[in-house]
Symmetry: C2
Subunit: 121 residues, 2 copies
């Protein structure tokens, strides 16, 4: 590890709040964001972009209108653009998300869980 290397576990020690994504890297106009999540998020979609979830630690359910996907550590899923989904984590789960810079966490629905300004860690 050196100044260019990004260690997921080390980044997760930098914050504790749930549903508050933090940027850890940029690739072209895409952001790599990590988040600690627990409980149920809101139903939403991203009309403009696909969104990738990678599970770093724990388990995540992603509900779709036609079923539920279960993701464990070492697994990923692409939510296609425009597809309604709802992340659910029964226990605290650590995730990596990849999506275009500026993608809003609550997508097209907004609400209290919306994070307007995403910080780097």
């Amino acid at each position: 590890m050196d100044q260019h290397t990004i260690n997921f576990q080390e980044k997760f020690t930098k914050f504790s709040e749930h549903w508050s994504p933090k940027i850890i890297a940029q690739m072209n106009d895409y952001h790599f964001k990590i988040a600690k999540i627990q409980g149920e998020f809101v139903w939403h979609s991203h009309p403009e972009t696909d969104e990738v979830f990678i599970i770093i630690e724990g388990e995540l359910k992603i509900a779709f209108r036609d079923g539920i996907s279960l993701l464990k550590e070492g697994e990923m899923l692409v939510v296609p653009k425009g597809v309604e989904h709802k992340p659910i984590a029964e226990e605290e789960c650590h995730i990596l998300m990849i999506e275009p810079a500026g993608t809003v966490n609550t997508g097209d629905v907004g609400g209290d869980l919306t994070v307007e300004e995403v910080d780097w860690v």
Copy 2:
């Protein structure tokens, strides 16, 4: 796990050859590619795009003209576009790469290690 969930370890069981990336997912116009690598690759750069390496298993050194980065499991690195680099793995290493669809593995140098047609697994 279901039909939407992608399990990295399961995908790595699908092939054994080194330096032969396989596509496992697409997000917008980006591909998620896995590869088993061992030995030294060629110096090259990608003039058009950044490139992300995530280590799934093992250790990877990425040599730059001004130093070497060491990446271990659970670590990632962004190679900025146009920056010469050379991946080196002393033991077999399993990596995930993220870059625009159509990005050629040997970038601007070509040669015997170039993979023109990247298959899905």
